[in-house]
Subunit: 337 residues, 2 copies
DNA sequence: CTGAAAGCGCTTACAG
DNA sequence: CTGAAAGCGCTTACAG
C-alpha cells in the first residue's frame, strides 16, 4: 500500500493524498473526506523514511542524556513517549559520556546524520553550550530541561529545584532543627547550586542561615553521601538534620547514621531530593522532594510536537514544573531541646 | 555532501561509491582506496533515510518491552547500544502494555511502518507468540531473551535462570537451613517457573524438598513480597530462610521481617534475584543472584548485527549467560540448631 | 482547490 | 570490475 494506490482508489492525484496526510488547509472538504475514507479502509500509513527523505527531516525524536540514574532516565523516556506517540514520531535514545574525547563528534554525527525531528535533553547535557551550538548549526529543534532558565522559553522546561529545596528547609526548620547540614551535589551541576540556594532561602525565612561549616560537597552518589555524613556526624556540634542534594546521597547518610549508632529520625532527621522508588523502600522511609520527571519529559516533547499538532509553540500555556515535598518517616521534631 | 559529490571527487560513478559503502567484494582494491580516501577527507556519511528507502529496510533496531523495572530496562538498553553503535544503527525504544486492547495493533504498526532492521525483546514480550507471528509475517529479524529456549538458536538468548536459583538453594542449604521458603513470581512469567524449578533442584542436591506449604506466589513487586512474607512468618514452624523470586520482593520480605521483630540475618536469611542497585543499598545488604543484563542485551543485538559485520549468525560462538550468586549480609548460618 | 514534473539520496537490476 | 537507467515512496516548486 503506497500513496499511489490510495490516489488510484480515491480517483485523485498523489499530491492530493499528500495534502490530506499533511493536513493542508487548501482542500475541498469533500475531497478530503473521500481520501480519508480510502486511507481508513485500506489501512494505509505513509512511509516515514520516504517522507523523511523528501522533507529532509526524519520523524525521530532523540533523547540525549548522561544522567546516571536509571529511574530518572526511564521516567523521562516515558514522558517523552507520552507526547511523541500519536504524533507519529518515534524515540531514539542516545546516552552519552560528556567526558569522552569523541563526545562532541558523536553527538554531531547523531544529530546531522539522523536529521532528527527534535532533541530533548535533561541535565547535564542540557547545560552544555557546545551541544546547543551543534543543534543550532544543524537547525535541529531542541528543548532543554534544567533547574534554571538557560535559553528562550520555547527551548526550556525549567524545574524550579530551588523552590523544592526551600520547602525542605521550611520543613526541617519547622520541626525545630537549628543545626542543619547540607550535602551538595557536584559543582558541575546547576542543580547543585539551585538546590543549595533554595535551601538557604528557605532557612532564611525561619531566621536561620546555612552555616558553611555544615556544608559538604558530594558527587550525587551513595558513597559520597556516606563519606560526607561521616564527616558531619563526627563534628563536636553535629547537625540534628541533614538535607542531601539527592536521594542516593540521602540513603548514604542513612548508612552513616546507622554505622554511628544514631537512630533515624530520633537522633537525626534526613531529607533527600528526587523521590526514587528506593526512597519508599528503605527503612525508615525517606522524606524527600519529588520532581515530576515524567511530566517534564512530556512537556519537553510537547514543545517539539506543537508544530505537527498545528499549534504555535508560543501559544502553549507554559505549565509550571513544581517540585513537592513528600514527608515520610526519616524526619521528626528536634528531640529534647 | 552526498554520494554524487563523492563520486565526482573520486572520479567514479555513484554506484561504485555505493559499493564501497556496502563493502561489496567486487571492487578493485585501488578503486576502493581512492573512494575511501575521498569519503574520509570529506566526512561524508550516507543518509540512513535514503539508504533505508532503497533497501526497503531501516537502520533502526527496536527494543520492545513491558518489564517494569527501570534498572533492568536501562541496563538492557545499554547492552543493545553497545552492539548497535559502530554498526551504524540506532535504538528506538518501545515500551508497551500487553494488557492493552491495542497492544498487538500498536506493535504491528511499529514494526511494519518503521521497517525495523531488527527487534530485541526481553520477557515477557519475548514469550508472546502473537508478537513473534507478527515479526515473522513482516519478515523482521528478531531476538528473544528468555529464561528458557523458545525458538531457534539464532532467535534466542537464554538466561538459565534455573541455574542461578539452584546456586541460591545450595547456598541456603549449605548454611544449615532446613525450613526454606520460596516466594515465586507470577504464573504468567516463565522466569517464575524456571527459578522455582532450579531452586527445587538445588535443594534436592542437599537431600531437601521444596515443601508446598512454604511456597507463596507473589507479583514481583515490593508489596507482594511483604504480604507473602507476613504469611510465611506467621506460620507455627516459620521458615528460617526465604528465597524471593526477585529483589523487589526480597526487600519486601526485609520489611515484613522488621515489622515482625526479626533480625536479618540472625533470625531469618533472605536471598533475592536480579541484583538491583538497591540490593547493595538496603540494610543489611541483600544476598542475591545477578543476571548480566547488559551483556544479555549486547548479545541479543549482536545476533542482529552479525549480517552487517559480515558474519554468519550461525558462526557466532554462542556465549552462555550465567547467573551468579552474590553473597552479602542478608544470609547467615542457621542459628542454635 | 488540484495536478504533472522533478527531486530527496540512495540501491536494485541489468548491461558490458 | 564498473556504470547508466529506473525506482524506493514521498514532497517541493510550479502551473493552472
Amino acid at each position: 500500500m503506497t500513496i499511489n494506490d490510495v490516489a488510484r482508489l480515491a480517483g485523485v492525484s498523489k499530491k492530493t493524498v499528500s495534502r490530506v496526510i499533511n493536513n493542508s488547509p487548501l482542500l475541498r472538504a469533500e475531497t478530503r473526506e473521500k481520501v480519508q475514507k480510502v486511507i481508513a479502509d485500506s489501512g494505509f500509513a505513509p512511509d516515514p523514511q520516504a517522507r523523511g527523505l523528501a522533507f529532509r527531516r526524519s520523524f525521530l525524536v532523540g533523547m540525549i542524556y548522561d544522567n546516571p540514574s536509571p529511574n530518572y532516565v526511564v521516567n523521562m523516556q516515558q514522558g517523552v513517549l507520552d507526547a511523541v506517540r500519536g504524533a507519529g514520531l518515534e524515540l531514539v535514545v542516545h546516552p552519552c559520556n560528556r567526558a569522552s574525547d569523541t563526545f562532541l563528534s558523536d553527538v554531531r554525527g547523531f544529530i546531522v546524520r539522523q536529521k532528527l525531528f527534535g532533541v530533548v535533553m535533561p541535565p547535564s547535557v542540557s547545560e552544555d553550550e557546545r551541544v546547543i551550538a551543534i543543534l543550532k548549526e544543524a537547525e535541529c529543534p531542541y528543548v532543554r530541561i534544567a533547574s534554571v532558565s538557560l535559553d528562550e522559553p520555547r527551548h526550556m522546561v525549567v524545574t524550579n529545584d530551588s523552590s523544592g529545596a526551600a520547602e525542605a528547609a521550611r520543613h526541617l526548620a519547622g520541626l525545630g532543627h537549628r543545626r542543619i547540614a547540607f550535602i551538595s551535589g557536584p559543582d558541575s551541576f546547576r542543580s547543585s547550586h539551585e538546590r543549595g540556594r533554595g535551601f538557604a532561602e528557605g532557612l532564611a525565612e525561619h531566621g536561620l542561615t546555612l552555616d558553611p561549616a555544615y556544608v559538604r560537597v558530594g558527587a550525587y552518589t551513595f558513597e559520597s553521601g556516606v563519606e560526607a555524613a561521616r564527616d558531619l556526624l563526627a563534628m563536636a556540634d553535629r547537625p540534628t538534620a541533614i538535607f542531601a542534594g539527592n536521594d542516593e546521597m540521602a540513603i548514604g547518610v542513612m548508612k552513616a547514621a546507622r554505622d554511628a549508632g544514631l537512630d533515624v529520625p530520633f537522633d537525626l532527621s534526613i531529607c533527600g531530593f528526587d523521590d526514587l522508588p528506593m526512597a519508599s523502600r528503605v527503612w525508615p522511609n525517606l522524606t524527600t522532594v519529588r520532581l515530576p520527571i515524567r511530566d517534564m519529559g512530556r512537556m519537553a516533547a510537547e514543545k517539539l510536537t506543537a508544530s505537527i499538532r498545528g499549534l504555535d509553540a508560543a501559544t502553549l500555556t507554559q505549565p509550571e514544573v513544581r517540585p513537592s515535598l513528600v514527608v515520610r518517616d526519616s524526619t521528626a521534631p528536634l528531640q529534647g531541646s
